[in-house]
Symmetry: C2
Subunit: 230 residues, 2 copies
């Protein structure tokens, strides 16, 4: 029987914090909550929670995210583990940061209000508790890199989107203007979008064609060696 082999080792509290990205009005946003308990009660914070004995980190992150947004099946990735000894003044706590990409149109507005959460443009992120600003910066850097090599942008858009919206999204992620013609022709060369017969009429009376991401085709192409690269 091999139990308690490590009884002399220190145990620690382990938190999970989520950077939740959304895209709205041509801007990248993150979802923050007003902290409801001490320490730092009343300050803005990432949404988080403690790891429970019976869950792994992914499950904890999904739980935390679901609790705040009501959403399931969200794109989510472990980012980094923060461990400075005094990062949380109340107790020795480590935190594993996750970032998530959601379709901002889908989240549950009531739940967000109940949790006194709010969307902030990433460029106007307030001062957050502990090392949370550092987490946001790292998440942003990771998102920028990922977006260049994986088609994760679609996670932030509605299922149907216009080319213009897609371009604005990439501009927001990469932090620079892109040439309309070059952008579209590059994306078309990938051949992973489906052009629909519908038009989006929300931003002009002429209307703009809607597209969908063809995930099956993308996966097939990846198997054959295709490499998404913006």
């Amino acid at each position: 029987m091999i139990i308690n082999s490590y009884t002399n080792e220190d145990k620690v509290l382990l938190a999970v914090d989520c950077i939740i990205f959304g895209f709205d009005l041509e801007e990248l946003k993150i979802l923050l909550v007003k902290r409801s308990f001490e320490p730092e009660k009343g300050k803005w914070s990432l949404i988080g929670g403690f790891l429970k004995k019976e869950e792994d980190l992914d499950v904890a992150a999904i739980r935390v995210l679901h609790h705040l947004t009501g959403l399931n099946n969200i794109y989510m990735e472990q980012l980094y583990t923060y461990s400075k000894v005094d990062r949380d003044p109340a107790d020795r706590t480590l935190s594993v940061a996750y970032y998530a990409l959601i379709d901002i149109a889908k989240h549950d507005r009531e739940l967000i209000e109940q949790n006194s959460a709010k969307w902030f443009p990433i460029k106007s992120t307030p001062t957050l508790i502990f090392d949370h600003n550092e987490m946001v910066e790292r998440a942003m850097a990771r998102l920028r890199r990922r977006a260049l090599s994986k088609p994760i942008g679609f996670e932030l858009l509605q299922q149907k989107f216009t080319m213009r919206q897609l371009q604005k999204l990439y501009e927001a992620i990469l932090g620079k203007k892109l040439d309309k013609r070059n952008f579209i022709s590059k994306f078309n060369s990938f051949d992973i979008l489906i052009k629909l017969d519908e038009k989006d009429m929300s931003s002009s009376k002429k209307g703009a064609f809607l597209y969908k991401f063809n995930e099956e085709k993308y996966n097939r192409k990846v198997e054959e060696g295709f490499n998404f690269k913006i």
Copy 2:
């Protein structure tokens, strides 16, 4: 006084495991230890240790690495945190994996023997305990990506190296043959190496010129917008 605000939360054991890379005889290698305690005593394992209350993860990883190799000032990067509930049969333990790049010529051979450690070609990695094989794979993938965009290869070579050694290193990391002329002219175009007047005589009687990485120049160029890209 804000203490014990989280008293009801579960605490866990947190380990640090290191994937230590070296480069020798044109091969990438990793350093493994024969585990000296239960569970899984006698099996091959990454070198690891438990996080102590008074250290952060980086410090713990440095401690573990120093304990095994006698080395300081090693290139090291946090990789990923592993958290499956049953990953360690003895107790609920999470592990934060780090990977390190060392100059294999410099490590302390005696210390390694004392710890019953051994270098394995990465391609002949044995079956390891727990999820350690998964860690090695992730480390390898990370190394491959990093090597493309940061000049970290030099960490694996001696201070002075030949162009051929550098090329063989990149071939080992990227897992493919590179064209000698293209490789050298690309590296020369970066203008971050110093060509020395010395020659390395170990692999031919004609001798091959030795080079050094000019780190100051590299840093200066980075400030000016230079982007290392193999």
